[in-house]
């Protein structure tokens, strides 16, 4: 197991903890928090993949993932608040 694979395994463990919270969170807000954190964790995973492969592509994936997960979190928060999507 190379050193970078060790880091990836740790990050996947953290992601599994997030998934457990998203699975068993008692309220909808807990699940929203877990999904939000999962998006940020995956950006870090893309950084690890960039170092592992030396390819530019994964950093682009991380960039778009960070912005898209932000939009998703805001949408979920607005839905949680009970507002319509157009106000």
């Amino acid at each position: 197991m190379s050193p970078l694979e060790l880091l990836m395994a740790g990050l996947l463990l953290a992601a599994c903890l997030c998934l457990w919270r998203a699975w068993s969170g008692p309220t909808v807000a807990d699940r929203t928090v877990a999904v939000d954190l999962l998006g940020i964790l995956m950006v870090g995973f893309c950084a690890l993949l960039t170092v592992e492969t030396g390819k530019d592509l994964y950093m682009i994936v991380g960039l778009s993932w960070s912005l898209l997960s932000f939009v998703g979190s805001l949408t979920l928060a607005k839905h949680l608040e009970g507002r319509r999507f157009d106000d």
Binding site: L7, A29, V33, A34, A47, L48, T50, V51, M59, E81
Partner: protein, 131 residues
């Protein structure tokens, strides 16, 4: 690939290992803490700093080339978006009436809404549901 005999790669690896430690601690906080506000507190701040350190590892490893600048741009995006999303989720959870953990002693947001409802009826926050 990373070669730990090179000093530059070693520094990058240490940064990334520190970032992973922050990520793991944030996720343990997400699992262990009692209510959604505490979980948001632990999760968002630790995981944001941990991802910063992972991306800074990319910058140290590759220098300021295409990947390094993209990593810095990613740091900027996360620094802008992550606190905003956390704030929106906390506000939405409070308005949706998610209760605080038993043993919480202070709820400034509710007190503020009640005070505003007393002084100016019909203002925003007057329809605040009591959690």
């Amino acid at each position: 690939m990373i070669d730990l005999a090179q000093p530059r790669d070693l520094v990058a690896y240490l940064l990334m290992a520190l970032g992973l430690a922050f990520d793991l601690l944030g996720c343990i906080g997400l699992v262990r803490l009692p209510d959604v506000y505490n979980r948001l507190q632990a999760g968002t701040k630790c995981v944001t700093l941990g991802t910063f350190l992972l991306l800074l590892g990319v910058v140290v490893r590759f220098g300021f080339d295409a990947m390094g600048w993209k990593a810095l741009l990613c740091v900027w995006f996360i620094a802008m978006t992550s606190p905003t999303a956390a704030h929106a989720i906390a506000r939405a959870a409070h308005r949706a009436g998610v209760p605080l953990a038993p043993g919480s002693v202070l709820d400034r947001y509710r007190e503020d809404g009640e005070a505003r409802a007393r002084t100016e009826p019909g203002a925003a926050g007057a329809e605040e549901p009591a959690p």
